[in-house]
Structures are given as structure tokens and as C-alpha cells.
């Protein structure tokens, strides 16, 4: 029979300066840090490329379409390995070597952040585009007719509405980025799921470790879901976006 032992989390790790519970929280911190910083990258790039997909200029929208297709059609894991293993080799050797001499944790974090950020930005770009396209065409024309320039029309008329419309799908992307951050464990970043594997190796109490980490992901998920729902209620445009049920 399996020996359940939940107090394992309070015992000391081999290095002696922390408990296994501290390891879990360290993992949680890295998961949060990675997800949030990638989210910033994703939101900025996603907005830029999403807007570009809707502009009249064929070249710009073509580039944006290519960007979205590339990042959407290559598996996240492959992208991560390309950022982490391939790119440092292909960069000018001064930059590549500088990267390789960094603290390994920092290397892993930067590669994972760029990777997750760009991967998610392609999905956000699609949502931003669909949000803009969901608006009545008259809005853009009215903005232009009032003497706003095209960038001004986007900034003051189209985007403020588009972002509110796409808030629900953005929420699920935000949830996804937390889940996808677990992929960073493959290059050794000590985020939550990496810590689960470490705990299995170190404590020989696999059930407790996995149940604890799964619960942490579950709680993280629920917390984000409720706070985003609150945000959706706050930013709802009365009469335009359906009342939340």
C-alpha cells in the first residue's frame, strides 16, 4: 500500500535551506512571472499585428498575416526549442555568446518569455482583428469624416470598442498562457510543473506532489477566471455587448 505523507512538504530539501513547500511557491512565482511578462509582450505585439491585419495597405496586412500564420502553425514546444537552442547559434556571435554566458535561469526565462509572448500574440492578433471587424464600418468612416487621421481613428474610436468586445476570448488566452507556461519546464525553467517533477524525484511521494501542483494550477485558473469576469462586467458597453448571464 502507498504511504500517504502530507507532511513531506514541511521537510527540508537536500540543500537544507528550504522546505519542499518553499519549492512549490518558488515554482508558482516563476509560473506567474513568466506568464505575466509574456502576457505583456503578447498584448503589445498582438495589438500591433491585429491592427495591421485590418489596415488598407496590402503590404502591411500581408506581413501581419504571415506573422500570424507562422506562429499559429508551429507547435509551441518546437518554437521554444528554436528560441532556446537555435537562435543563439544564428545570432551574430557576440550576442549569441553573451546570451550563452548569462545565468542559465535567466536564459531559460528570456527564451520562454519571448516564445510564449510571440506564440500568444498571434492568437491575440486574430482576436483584435475580429474585434475591429465586428464594429460597424460606419464607425471608421465617421471617425475619418470628423477629420481624425487613420491612426487617431484606431486609437480613439475603433480600439476602445474592439478591446471590450474581445475581452471574453482574451480571458481564455490569458488562462492559456498560464497553462502553456508549463512547457518551459522542458528547457529546465523551475516553474510549477518542473517542481512537481523535482518533488517526485526527491521525495518519493509522487501522489502528494502531483495533487498539490494540480490544485495550485486549478486555484490559479479559478482566480483568474473570476477576476476577468469582474473586469468584463465593469467594462461592458450597455446595449452593445450582451449582458453577462
Amino acid at each position: 500500500m502507498y504511504n500517504w505523507n502530507w507532511s513531506v512538504f514541511l521537510s527540508q530539501t537536500p540543500s537544507g535551506d528550504a522546505t519542499y513547500l518553499d519549492w512549490l511557491f518558488l515554482g508558482l512565482k516563476w509560473t506567474a512571472a513568466l506568464s505575466l511578462s509574456s502576457w505583456v509582450v503578447a498584448l503589445i505585439l498582438g495589438s500591433i499585428f491585429g491592427v495591421l491585419r485590418t489596415v488598407p495597405n496590402k503590404w502591411l496586412s500581408g506581413i501581419a498575416t504571415a506573422y500570424v500564420e507562422v506562429f499559429r502553425n508551429i507547435p509551441l514546444l518546437v518554437q521554444l526549442f528554436i528560441w532556446y537552442f537555435v537562435l543563439p547559434e544564428l545570432l551574430p556571435s557576440a550576442i549569441g555568446d553573451a546570451f550563452k554566458q548569462m545565468n542559465p535561469l535567466l536564459q531559460q526565462f528570456i527564451a520562454a518569455m519571448i516564445c510564449l509572448g510571440l506564440f500568444t500574440s498571434a492568437r491575440i492578433a486574430e482576436q483584435v482583428r475580429s474585434g475591429i471587424e465586428a464594429l460597424a464600418r460606419g464607425q471608421k468612416n465617421a471617425g475619418l469624416a470628423l477629420g481624425l487621421s487613420l491612426p487617431q481613428t484606431y486609437r480613439f474610436v475603433l480600439l476602445p470598442m474592439a478591446y471590450r468586445i474581445i475581452l471574453p476570448p482574451l480571458t481564455s488566452e490569458f488562462l492559456n498562457i498560464f497553462k502553456n507556461s508549463a512547457v518551459a519546464s522542458t528547457i529546465g525553467l523551475i516553474e510549477l510543473s518542473r517542481q512537481a517533477q523535482q518533488l517526485v524525484d526527491y521525495t518519493a511521494q509522487p501522489y502528494e506532489a502531483f495533487i498539490a501542483v494540480t490544485l495550485l494550477y486549478f486555484i490559479l485558473n479559478i482566480t483568474i477566471m473570476f477576476s476577468m469576469r469582474w473586469l468584463e462586467q465593469r467594462t461592458r458597453v450597455p446595449g452593445f455587448i450582451g449582458e453577462a448571464k
Binding site: V70, P75, L77, L91, S185, P206
Partner: protein, 227 residues
Amino acid sequence: MDYEFDWTSIPGALPILWSGLKVTFEITVTAIVVGVVWGTLLAIARLSGNRLLSTLSAAYVNLFRSIPLVMVILWFYLIVPQLLKSLLNIEATTDIRLASALTAFALFEAAYYSEIIRAGIQSVSKGQIGASLALGLTYSQAMRLIVLPQAFRNMIPLLLTQAIILFQDTSLVYVIGLADFFGASYKVGDRDGRLVELLLFAGLIYFLICYGASLLVRQLQKKVRVS
């Protein structure tokens, strides 16, 4: 850029890569088939009047949807087999990587498929169930003969898009050391010291397959919309 490319290790490795690709497809197809069937059952349970069934189904779907796939794969590789072994006395030496990957993906995808299918069923107007019942069909006949055929037609594009995502996600079996297409590419690259070339090659092949498939889905979407 000082890197000198050397693509020569790829032609010789094609048989290994091909057998990896077959594993990738095996996992994808199994997960689609099992996932759609199990997902349909979950969706029907969720929408059924039975409160116990619908709560259980909702719990299943929400649980799987809130944990990272990497964790699910590890669960079914590290934890579940141990549990089964101690319960059923299976030999400890069998290689369970493929079996556990197939199970993990099938059960995980079912949660995602069930949400798509639930939306599909809800897209068929409620009056149709009422009409079927009035015509003397039972609830399960109405579901099977009237609602599901229409629901599935509506959601084919979404189901296929999910299948493309699934195809990409199968690369995550790397975490349990299974040689799917990505795993095989990585192993060859590592063996020959040509990781750069092999990873770029793997990325290209994934891109061609997924982009091609997504173009087909888009065509199909247009066709479905017209009819």
C-alpha cells in the same frame, strides 16, 4: 552570423523521422476518435436534465481544462500507471509510454471537444427536440437522429481546427521521452550535433502540415456556409 549549416544528417535520418511522424499521427487520430466520442457523451450528460450527471461532466471538463497538458501527460505516465500496477499487479517492466500518451491525450481532448460539441448541440433550436418528442420519438432518438447530425455539421470546422491544435500539442509527449516526430527530430539532432538544422526542419514540416490543413478547413468552412 557565423553558423555553418550542414543539412547532411537529415536524408539518412528520414526513416527515423517518418516513424516518428507515424507516432504523431497515431496519437492525433486516437485522441480525435476517442475524444469526439467521449466528448459527445460528456456534452450530452452536461445538457441532460439529470443534475448528478451534468455536475460530474462539468467537473471533469473544468478540471481537465484548468491543468496544463504537460501536467496531464505526466499524470498519466508517472502516477496513474503506478496506481494501476499496484491495483492490478501488472508487470513493472512493460513500456507504457505510448499507452499512457494515448490515454492522456484522449481524455484531455475529450474535455475540449465536449465544450465544442455542447455549443454545437445548443446551436440547434430547442423547438426541434420538442417537435421530435411530439412526433413520438424518445429523447435519445431525438438526440441521435435529429439534433446531433445537424450539430456536427455546424461544428465540423471547429472540430477540425481543434484537431490541428491537437496535432501540434502531441509534440509535448517529449516530456515522457516518446519518439514522436518532434522527439525523433530532437534525438537525431542531439546524436549528430545538428540540433539547429533538425529543429528548423521539424518546425518547417509542422508548419507545412498545419498550414495546409488550416487552408483546407477554411475552404470547407466556406462550403458549409453556402449550403
